[in-house]
Amino acid sequence: MNLSSKIVLASVAVTFAAGVCAQELTGTLKKIKESGSITIGHRDSSIPFSYYDDKQQVIGYAMDICMKVVDAVRTELKAPGIKVVLNPVTSATRIPLMANGTIDLECGSTTNSIDRQKQVAFTNTHFVTANRFVSKKADNFKTLADLKGKTVVSTAGTTNIKWLTEENAAKGLGMNILTGKDHAEAFLMVETGRASAFFMDDILLASLVAGSKAPSDYVVGAEAYSIEPYGIMMRRDDPAFKKVVDNATATLYKSGAIAPIYAKWFQGKIPPKDINLALAPSPQLARVFANPTDSGDPAVYK
């Protein structure tokens, strides 16, 4: 983003801040109080963060964290009757829908990155994952070089597809890059043999493989290409709302109340197929829970 836009946005932020006095609500908090509802953007197949179970209810790790945030908002606004409205989003629509006001919080598997912080804001990271690829075991693809000239797929609007496109051009790998509308469609490309590999965050890949028709046919690559910290997304330039959300998540992580929530989704049986991901919190994640951060810089998480 260039300097003049930064100045415009800064002036907007200052105008917002200037309008705030002790009692007066601004921005998202005002919108929530006036409409009596908060709209949460969720995913349809980001297992186990935010997805539909087979009764078409939205469930997930990020959804549980968001419900705690909503409780904090209710307390802050002293309005226990605030309703939760659910709005499905995809990787490609989440940022525009946040910017245009359709959703107030996005609870899914969105990577917090410095680039994205030009458009939206993130609260404290709730998961740390890495970008890998999944392919059919029979094909024996181990490294990026193995995929030279092959057809690969990633999901529209993700940091993964951005990285993939740039890497393909920079290293001259000559890969044909397909775009899936969402993770399920992209994984289907590998399943049906249209693409040789699907690049995505390893936790999502593990869940998709575990839930597929023949999990033993697939293997998630060992190479990790980038670190992806997940954060719950909200509108930028809204310091009052960010404060409430940050406090809610920081309290949740530091107090250890996050532990049973984590265990429920990553170490227990989850719908719809009762699979158990059996994934203990990684050292990076333990550090993030001990010292909550909303940084978009991957180096912070190493």
Partner: protein, 229 residues
Amino acid sequence: MVDFDFDVIQRSFVYLFREGMTFTLTLTAMAAAGGIILGTLLAMMRLSSYKWLSLPATAYVNLIRSIPLLLVIFWFYFLVPYIGAWIIGSPTPIKVGAFASSVITFTLFEAAYYSEIMRAGIQSISRGQVSAGYAIGLNYWQTMGTIVLPQAFRNMVPILLTQTIILFQDTSLVYVLSLTDFLGAASKVAQRDGRLVEMYIFAALVYFVISFGLSQLVKRLQHKIAIIR
């Protein structure tokens, strides 16, 4: 021969119809009603002798008819909250849900097509009818409302219904917004269970049966009206 599991249709039947088909039908009905009303207004504006009415209406209809429905869907999905905010003077974009955004999109899109149909309908009513209306002391709105529009509408009912069937099929395009209309629901089940063939063939079949059935009804209606005239 690959294993096909047509049971998946039976298992997801309730979901497909309760979530998917109700979305599709509700969207079709609301967009058709809104579109016909707005289309009739647009047709009247185009036929008006005031340039400040006919020019914008003509420009609107020609613009909408030159661009693909998918592009209009994307435009409105991202644009409606900004327009809403601008209209009511709010500092932040207002919240419009996905369903509301689709209804607005399809209403505004189909209005352009319905307006062409209604324009043909209004023009098919002889000028003598309008003159007769003025002769017995009715003003413009009364003439249109009690004499011209009812006849125009009746003449155009088969074509309006055909356009509505096309609208019913076009609602499948909300797939690109990952909304759960009938095709969206079928896709979700197909992708989740890996049953592409079964679900897409079933979806094609359902759309075919409904569209074909409705177009046969329209044909019968056309026969009835033809005989009466």
